[in-house]
């Protein structure tokens, strides 16, 4: 009895177009291997990722064509001779049926306008989910090609707020069992032009009842930073008294400030680190007369 051992030399070929008659989530997959002398019947067995048998197919030809959902599979094969004697199963080899490529992307305009309040530009990219895609990874790259953000999504849409810069992106489809499809690469760069950070304007110091209030004006919606420093007369060294940020556009100075020279620096800073110009204000705290020698 002649036994034919199956030599794993098959080819998997997927058609580029989904087959209309096939269920929408399946793609056509073709297996083919070199013909084996004396083989009457070719049999393949398809298994899941967990190596559970899914389907067995027999054919007098060495080529098989079937519809498969994208995913992770094992396949093994054997042949029968003219007496229907079975050869041994080949080693199970894994093969991947990736999801289809993303074709239809609603690309945003190449130049996005920035929101002066948030200092970011909203980016929306939507695409048509290709066959077999279970979820997606959206990868944002800067002008140097470095990854600056990733987002995984089940829906075929991504919304992000981007700070000024130049970007490109990739969208990678995945099957449910993480088989990666061919990435979609954006054709053009997205440019988000920088906008000046709103300035801190008209800082002033006023005595209000028993407090001393530092106030300012700004159109920024994010907090304004302030730094208060003290310098003794005849000294060149500034000592920091306080540094903080507030959205209030005013700050009540500490009540126990020692006499001497003071400097306040005010600036706006976006959540992404862009900084406005620094406004400076100097004032002097005079001593209390009753504390001075007569």
């Amino acid at each position: 009895m002649m036994r034919w051992s199956f030599v794993l030399a098959f080819f998997v070929c997927m058609s580029t177009e989904p087959v209309i008659s096939a269920p929408a989530e399946k793609v056509k997959v073709e297996f083919e291997w070199e013909e084996i002398f004396g083989a009457e019947v070719y049999e393949i067995e398809l298994m899941s990722k967990e190596k559970k048998s899914l389907q067995s197919l027999r054919s007098p030809n060495s080529a098989f064509s079937l519809m498969m959902a994208p995913g992770f599979y094992y396949v093994r094969g054997r042949v029968y001779d003219s007496r229907q004697a079975k050869g041994e199963w080949s080693e199970a080899r894994e093969f991947l049926v990736p999801p289809k490529k993303i074709e239809s992307v609603e690309a945003p305009s190449a130049e996005l306008s920035i929101n002066a309040k948030t200092y970011t530009a909203p980016l929306k990219v939507a695409w048509k989910a290709p066959v077999g895609a279970h979820h997606f990874k959206f990868i944002l790259l800067n002008s140097a090609g470095e990854v600056v953000g990733t987002k995984s999504t089940r829906v075929a849409e991504v919304n992000m707020n981007l700070r000024p810069g130049t970007y490109s992106y990739k969208i990678i489809p995945y099957t449910a069992d993480e088989v990666e499809g061919e990435p979609y690469v954006s054709e053009q760069m997205l440019a988000i032009k920088s906008q000046p950070v709103p300035e801190v304007l008209a800082p002033k110091i006023q005595a209000v009842e028993k407090s001393t209030i530092l106030s300012w004006e700004t159109e920024a919606t994010h907090p304004t930073w302030y730094k208060l420093e003290h310098q003794k007369h005849f000294s060149s060294v500034w000592h920091q008294v306080a540094q903080a940020s507030t959205k209030e556009k005013q700050w009540s100075l500490p009540a126990d400030l020692k006499p001497g020279k003071y400097r306040v620096q005010l600036w706006n800073k976006t959540p992404y680190g862009e900084v406005s110009s620094i406004q400076k204000l100097e004032f002097v705290i005079k001593p209390l007369e009753h504390r001075l020698p007569k």
């Binding site: 003794k232 002097v284 001593p287 001075l292 020698p293």
Partner: protein, 276 residues
């Protein structure tokens, strides 16, 4: 043994009596131009003061160094030091500078120190002047150098400052006026009867049509120059200017007449020793 002990006691008693007698003697006379100083007393008090000063927190060596420095200032030196030191540290002056300034005042007179303290409080704390710290400090140091004229000096400065800031006069910014007035005070010692009247006359003349109709900047600079030649300078300047312009005189241009008049005003006074 008993005899020698009795002799020692007698000797001791005699020494004590002699010392007590010397104490009761009047102080030895000092040469003319000198005043008596209680150096040891000032030194002891200073050591005590510096040892217990928590702001300065000096080590033993520094205590001795500063105490010696203060004691050099003669009687009352520590009191003067303390006054200026407290004034400056309470006003927010750097500690090192406060000690140096206080030490320099410890060598001056009580009048100079008191005058400095009073002037500084007026110039720095008084909202009328609203001077910045440095101007207030420098003007106080300058005027207190001659305490007998401190009041006149303060008045002079006040009048100059008011003339400079008042809107119906020059109406210049406070800071500029503080600086300019401080600059003029350097001539203060030349004007026993006050500097401001001369300032007002000179400025009035050189900005008038009879004068050269100078603008404010030029007039302020020239007034400063003329004031440097003393209280008679204005009179000489005015006469020389009129002479240079006149037909009987030199018939020079206004500009040239101003230059000549300024030169002539230099010859408005001369130190006595040099005339002998």
């Amino acid at each position: 043994m008993k005899h020698s002990l009795a002799m020692l006691l007698i000797a001791l008693c005699a020494t004590t009596a002699l010392a007590s007698e010397l104490d009761q003697e009047r102080q030895p006379k000092l040469p003319d131009g000198y005043i008596a100083c209680k150096g040891s007393e000032e030194f002891e008090k200073s050591v005590d003061y510096f040892r217990n000063n928590k702001v300065l927190s000096l080590n033993d060596k520094q205590v001795v160094t500063w105490s010696l420095k203060v004691a050099k200032g003669c009687s009352g030196a520590l009191s003067r030091f303390q006054k200026v030191f407290e004034l400056l540290t309470e006003s927010g002056v750097d500690l090192q500078k406060s000690v140096e300034m206080a030490a320099s005042f410890s060598e001056k007179s009580n009048e100079q120190t008191n005058s400095f303290v009073a002037l500084f409080k007026t110039f720095f704390l008084d909202n009328y002047f609203d001077l910045d710290f440095m101007t207030a400090f420098n003007i106080s140091v300058k005027i207190s150098e001659n305490p007998s004229r401190a009041v006149a000096g303060q008045k002079d400065f006040e009048r100059l400052y008011r003339f400079c800031t008042d809107h119906d006069k020059l109406g210049l910014p406070l800071r500029d006026c503080g600086k300019y007035s401080l600059g003029l005070i350097k001539h203060f010692d030349l004007y026993p009867e006050g500097l401001f009247p001369s300032f007002e006359k000179i400025y009035g003349f050189i900005t008038s049509k009879a004068g050269a109709s100078l603008n404010i900047k030029e007039a302020l600079e020239m007034t400063d120059e003329i004031l440097a030649f003393g209280p008679l300078a204005y009179d000489n300047f005015k006469k020389a200017y009129a002479f240079s312009l006149s037909k009987k005189g030199l018939q020079t241009s206004i500009k040239q007449s101003m230059r000549i008049a300024l030169e002539v005003s230099k010859s408005s006074m001369k130190e006595k020793e040099k005339t002998q």
